[in-house]
Symmetry: C2
Subunit: 491 residues, 2 copies
């Protein structure tokens, strides 16, 4: 069909052609159909969207990227024809039918997702099929390799390259920002990619961003790692394991975490940065992502199996996920906890967990007995070596290395909640803490969140402060205060 091209002042991650609804349905297209557009000897595949009236019959609106890719001028006639579905749709169909996919089939699906040749509906069908039917170990390995191949990789020409990953779900628990300086100050290399918060009040990337830019490219990740020893970047800002962000974007709305896909997603980011030794932290608790030790052990085994098949040395530890770790919750407050710990004070539970995870890696890589490794790790904090390395990393990423904990100011609106009776702190709810910190504006407002004055096991008297809520907006603070409930249980 010949249509007159109109440029639309919009861009997207995909080639989009907007047709008048009548034209489109007349040639059998539905929103999401693929068409081939030909002009000037150039051909490309675009996804169709509908317009009721802005795009008139006989016209086609093209997003800016598409317009430029075709080298168009306004008012030119172009040829649009319906395209057959890419082969990967047959493989998605195969998975829907409960069959195993080959390496090549998985690779084709992932590449078509990255190159925007599949619609979000098709990608969602793939995720749904994976969720219901699952992936076996071979498929999971193929999926990981395909995700790695989908983006850039970082080859670190130093050794040993170590990495850690936490399954998440525990407020604060900002151990990465301790493990990286401890280990890199000991000569290990850590090109650490972290995520931003999706449903939590802060991700490591959000917290590190309080101190330095985290939106680094792959080249910078490599350079800082090889010169300084470590880096803490936002994984989503690089093109490393590019398919992963697309898969996350599809999985998130329905909270679908097909088991094999979760493993592949995490391990692809490790493999793509040359990790040799990987430690997985699996917090277990009734309000953690993994509710029981048995499920934690099952997940640990799967990580070790798949990671080993991918050529990495894997270790997994189950940790206490029953309550928040650290005192601050929200980017600024968590960054302050970390800086305080590295400066010799701060919350001791978080310091202890950070040192332990570092010790697991030392012991794993060097064969050092764990108790000795723990003394070494904690010694790097006590001696100030970890803080010096942390400042080097902050500076290398473009932040201010001389920032002090007291420079980190939480939101200017605050309200403290007090104990309404005498007793012992019996429970602090991960879910309620996270919900409250988000209601106050975290992670979008860096200074929003809360600070816990008490820990589980503390004795309190009526009128003692339990926690202080911070926000950068009076309205959000007020909204959050209405939700104060069940955060700290005193018995």
């Amino acid at each position: 069909m010949q249509l007159v091209a109109r440029k639309l002042d919009l861009d997207a991650n995909a080639h989009i052609a907007v047709l008048n609804r009548k034209d489109a349905s007349r040639i059998g297209l539905v929103p999401g159909s693929r068409v081939e557009i030909a002009h000037n000897g150039k051909r490309l595949i675009a996804i169709v969207d509908f317009s009721k009236s802005y795009i008139k019959q006989g016209e086609v609106g093209l997003f800016a990227d598409t317009w430029e890719a075709l080298g168009l001028d306004d008012g030119k006639e172009i040829d649009i024809s319906p395209m057959p579905d890419p082969e990967s749709t047959f493989y998605i169909r195969k998975k829907l039918d409960g069959k195993r996919l080959t390496d090549e089939e998985i690779h084709a699906i992932i590449m078509d997702i990255v190159e925007n040749r599949l619609t979000s509906a098709e990608a969602a069908a793939f995720i749904s099929a994976a969720y219901i039917h699952g992936f076996n170990a071979e498929e999971t390995v193929a999926l990981t390799n395909a995700i790695v191949a989908s983006g850039e990789s970082v080859v670190i020409e130093k050794e040993p390259v170590v990495d850690k990953h936490c399954i998440g779900g525990i407020p604060n628990n900002r151990t990465t920002m301790l493990v990286v300086p401890i280990l890199t100050s000991l000569g290990f290399y850590m090109p650490k990619l972290s995520s931003r918060a999706i449903t939590s009040p802060a991700g490591t990337a959000d917290t590190m961003e309080v101190l330095a830019p985290v939106d680094l490219d792959a080249e910078t990740v490599k350079e800082i790692t090889e010169t300084v020893g470590g880096v803490m970047a936002w994984g989503g800002g690089t093109r490393i394991a590019a398919a992963d962000d697309k898969l996350i974007a599809i999985r998130r709305p329905l909270s679908l975490d097909p088991r094999g896909m979760l493993l592949a997603s995490i391990l692809a980011k490790k493999k793509a940065v040359s990790s040799q030794y990987v430690l997985i932290d699996i917090p277990v608790g009734p309000e953690a992502k993994i509710p029981t030790v048995r499920k934690g052990e099952e997940l640990a085994e799967q990580f070790i199996d798949i990671g080993t098949r991918l050529g990495m040395h894997m270790k997994a530890v189950l940790t206490d996920g029953s309550a928040p770790i650290g005192r601050g919750v929200g980017p600024v407050l968590e960054a302050r906890d970390v800086l305080e710990i590295l400066s010799g004070s701060g919350p001791q539970d978080l310091r202890k967990k950070g040192a332990e995870l570092a010790a697991h890696l030392i012991s794993f890589v060097k064969g050092t007995p764990f108790e000795e490794a723990l003394r070494i790790a904690d010694g790097q904090i006590s001696s100030g070596a970890a803080l010096r390395k942390f400042k080097e990393i902050v500076e290398a990423q473009g932040g201010d290395p001389d920032v002090k904990p007291e420079d980190l100011k939480p939101g200017k609106y605050s309200e403290t909640i007090f104990a309404d009776r005498d007793g012992m702190v019996y429970h602090i709810s991960n879910h309620a803490v996270a919900r409250l910190a988000r209601a106050a504006g975290a992670p979008f407002q860096k200074g929003a969140g809360l600070y816990l004055h008490v820990r589980v096991g503390d004795r309190v008297k009526k009128g003692d402060p339990l926690y202080t809520l911070y926000s950068e907006s009076e309205r959000l603070l007020k909204d959050a205060l209405e939700q104060v409930d069940d955060v700290v249980r005193i018995e």
Copy 2:
């Protein structure tokens, strides 16, 4: 988050807000996330799309419908906040987990699909889950009722209202255009909604459109049915059973036809137009949609079960689906076959099938013995009564009632294929015929398609014409000729 609003010259079937990619990921949004937009005391829910650079940080682009719904002026600041997922996402999740859905849950999903509160990815997850886990009879009935409730209904205040539906897959087979005039000329009422071709060379709506407009609204469908007796409209042009078109649009790209959903889709369109008696035509053959008699009987039972639960009188017949029925394939050529039959000539196989289906309905509604009903039905053709009624319907829909078969001209470019040996026509391939007619431009070019000079069982000599291919474009005819293969097998 406060953003400056910019109007985009685009519209869609949904409220769309385009954010700069950086703003969006900073507040945890992904493409497809839902946000609440507030302005001037008005609030609405929009789906987020990303822009790399056209929408700057701090701005939000809004599609025209959204802009008007909010009563905005350019440059106004509006408040955008992430929205929780609608409850129906939990029900979709429940179906993914293999559980049965209640009537209320199915209703909520269908309403959210129609109101664009679900993203296409979420809707695709629902279809995928339905495909894998299936629907039981109660769920199928609930789904049908929800689809009916999702759009307009037509209450025909006359009796009896009859309907027919063919599962499809057989080229030409344009029986609806015979059954409707036969039965309405006998005093039955048929508010027939048909579809356009999706993967075939012509749908009934495409073929009828050669003779009269088919894009009618519900009110017109009612009015013509009650005055003339019958109508042949395009189902997708009405708002009747509105959810169905949305479901089809999601199912089509992956060719997913969850069994319960197929039944619900078809039966909803019957129920929504007050059908009392419904005949289902299930062609069976190796190249039909239903390959074996056993599968055909299974489907027939399901139609009867679900239709009966919905309060309709159901009958299903298995018919011969081994080869095309009629001579012409493509909108103009099929319309010509129909006009010829009603005028007393034309392909006898199609006339016979049309009369038989009409007879099944007469016999079903009136209790007339089938042989007698068949004489009555065919008599309406012989007497010219069916043609007179057909012309009334064409005129009522806005077409020219005096059109003659010879006025219907196929594409001006044509090429005839001849037998390369003596023998008997052993097989005519449904698939090859459909593929070839589409390659020549059908259904988008009304005159494209092919005309079969032979039928299965005919004796041919080398050099006899087998079929003529027509197109309105020289290039498409050439392309199609390259695909000529296996259409007619002579042995």
